[in-house]
């Protein structure tokens, strides 16, 4: 007897789901954030197309010029085209920012999953490490680490990873502590699944949302950190264009040629705004109704 009767009352309830695809365009912060950030990313990717100078080419005859047809945002103190450096700077800073969020995200999520799932001594050790890192102010620790390791992209990644993983570990650990008490985890144990399988296939997809939302706002912090390091001369080394460096270089001419520092400053503000809006929007969309 294969067909045990299923009454009409048991018709499928197809509701609520498909939320993301239906609601994204009705979430203003998501649309605004995605548009702003999308525009910046497109310009950065199309850098060779939308600019017509070399970002590091110096032109000592045309120093500190105002806007013109050839140099829409003018030139800096070495005669380099500011628009070109701004676009290539976006390339540098965004790429570093994405990677500098990815490493702590992966490390912190893994640590949080393991600490939350196994608990006991593992959890104690993880909490102890987190407390050590959290005891220092974010910027102070990053700057100190980069200073100790020496400037450069690789060391920025290392410093930000060492400091950044704790937030993800804390968020994911908390979510795991709640999720592992759910009956579907007990059911997975009853199905004889291994701990690795339960963590990877059952817990991770259920706890990752909060970490993703945090990553979107964390990237703003990371961009600011990278730019700050650049400004302090600890970041991307010249002549590679970077917004922080541009602000620092223009500082000398702030009273006479204010746009040298102001333009990259505005770029940072707009990028941060776009990311924050996007983070808000994603958080809204992922929130269950």
């Amino acid at each position: 007897m294969a067909s045990v009767a299923v009454s009409a009352v048991e018709a499928p309830v197809v509701a609520e789901h498909r939320g993301f695809r239906q609601r994204w365009y009705r979430t203003p912060s998501f649309v605004a954030g995605a548009s702003i950030l999308g525009a910046i990313v497109v310009v950065a990717i199309l850098a060779p197309v939308v600019t017509w100078h070399d970002p590091v080419e110096q032109n000592l005859v045309n120093l500190l010029q105002g806007p013109s047809w050839s140099h829409p945002l003018g030139t800096d103190d070495l005669g380099r085209d500011i628009w070109t450096r701004l676009v290539y700077g976006a390339r540098t800073d965004l790429r570093i920012a994405v990677l500098a969020v990815l490493f702590p995200f992966v490390l912190g999520t893994t640590a949080g999953l393991i600490a939350g799932y196994f608990g006991g001594r593992t959890d104690t050790v993880a909490n102890w490490l987190v407390s050590v890192v959290v005891a220092f102010p974010f910027y102070v620790l990053i700057i100190a680490l980069v200073f100790a390791l020496g400037p450069g992209t690789r060391n920025i990644f290392i410093a930000i990873t060492i400091v950044g993983w704790v937030s993800y570990a804390r968020i994911v650990r908390g979510e795991v502590l709640v999720a592992k008490r759910q009956e579907y985890v007990l059911a997975a144990h009853a199905g004889g699944l291994s701990s690795a399988r339960i963590i990877g296939r059952h817990l991770l997809p259920n706890v990752i949302t909060q970490a993703v939302v945090f990553a979107m706002s964390d990237i703003v912090l990371v961009i600011l950190a990278i730019v700050t390091l650049g400004y302090l001369g600890l970041g991307v080394q010249p002549p590679t264009p970077d917004w922080g460096r541009m602000i620092a270089d223009g500082q000398t001419y702030l009273t006479t040629h204010w746009w040298l520092s102001t333009i990259p400053g505005i770029a940072i503000v707009v990028t941060a705004l776009g990311l924050s809006l996007l983070a808000d929007g994603i958080a809204d969309l992922l929130r269950p109704e």
Binding site: A2, V4, V9, H17, E183, Y184, H189, G192, L193
Partner: protein
């Protein structure tokens, strides 16, 4: 009785609490024959769920299995290490949970959840596991399985969700199905369908079932034998029809009398006076004696183990004759 598939003896589960040791299961024993359904019935907190979970050592963190033996299919499960018992779970012994909404992973398609066992535990390929999942969905009566396999649990009705749970439990070809109140979360019509499904699967696949419930009618409808639990102990055991028709333990009798019956007009609903004992400090003697209408002075001290009562029955009550006499005077109307 043929050699039992499962023979659990003297199971003891303890919770270590701040105020002392709580004996949630205190020497419970029961047996299940191949292809048979055993019902475990009792109030909330009687230890029936813990006894069930102790069989495959799926206990909460604060609980420990401190004693007893579980002989299953010729193997002693309590002697196995963690990897050994994990090998049993989901393959030889599978579980169906009370609340399919929370026991299914909310972010995993139900088809993938059914296919997970075949994929991971049976080592089937991706395609073969998917086909197996669809076959299982047909087996448990889910219409249009190809479409439903891609649904998430919250897109399905309660009845379909519980069918998915049963399909997951069956995916490892188990010999024994442990069902923890599988129909309590469902409304009555769906409950009936799920019970009918479980009964038909038991006959069709010759799988044994242990069925935990507080609902006497559900047990009467689906099981051949019943173990009545009170305060962590089995107080009466035997074939369902005889136990429910002629209970030989006052607790069983009180449970049966407190079931509302549409055929008999009574002024008030009969209840059991008092409340279940605190398992951290249980009463001495027979644990039911403070609430028992047949209690005698000799009920207040001593041990009250199950003692055989003829061929297939057992009771823990030493005054079971008084109980039997009372039933003859005022028969219990078995409903369901």
């Amino acid at each position: 009785m043929t050699a039992p598939l499962l023979d659990a003896r003297d199971l003891r589960v303890e919770f270590t609490l701040a105020r002392g040791v709580l004996r949630a299961v205190d020497g419970a024993s029961f047996r299940v024959a191949p292809g048979e359904a055993l019902g475990i019935v009792g109030e909330s907190g009687s230890g029936k769920t813990m006894a069930l979970r102790a069989l495959v050592r799926l206990l909460p963190r604060a609980a420990r299995l401190v004693g007893g033996t579980v002989l299953f299919d010729g193997k002693e499960l309590t002697a196995l290490d963690e990897d050994g018992i994990r090998e049993i779970r989901g393959r030889s012994i599978a579980m169906v949970f009370q609340e399919p909404m929370t026991a299914l992973n909310p972010v995993m398609k139900v088809g993938d959840q059914i296919a997970e066992g075949p994929l991971v535990r049976l080592g089937l390929g991706r395609r073969a596991a998917r086909l197996r999942a669809l076959e299982l969905m047909r087996l448990v009566g889910i219409p249009d399985p190809a479409r439903r396999a891609d649904a998430y649990s919250f897109e399905l009705s309660g009845g379909l969700r519980q069918r998915v749970m049963i399909a997951i439990a069956l995916s490892g070809n188990p010999k024994l199905l442990l069902c923890d109140e599988p129909t309590t979360a469902l409304d009555v019509t769906i409950q009936d369908q799920i019970l009918a499904l479980l009964s038909s699967l038991r006959e069709q696949l010759h799988v044994s079932v242990v069925f935990v419930s507080h609902d006497l009618a559900v047990i009467a409808q689906t099981c051949q034998h019943v173990a009545v639990m009170y305060a962590g102990q089995v107080v009466e055991y035997g074939p369902v029809d005889t136990v429910f028709r002629e209970p030989r333990h006052p607790y069983t009798l009180s449970l049966l009398r407190s079931v509302p019956n549409v055929d008999v007009v009574r002024e008030t609903l009969l209840t059991i006076p008092g409340s279940p004992p605190d398992l951290a400090a249980p009463p001495s003697g027979c644990r039911f004696h403070p609430r028992c209408t047949f209690a005698q002075p000799d009920c207040k001290s001593g041990e009250f183990p199950l003692r055989p009562l003829g061929e297939s029955r057992a009771t823990a009550c030493i005054h079971d004759e008084a109980c039997a006499h009372d039933v003859r005077r005022d028969p219990v109307i078995a409903n369901g």
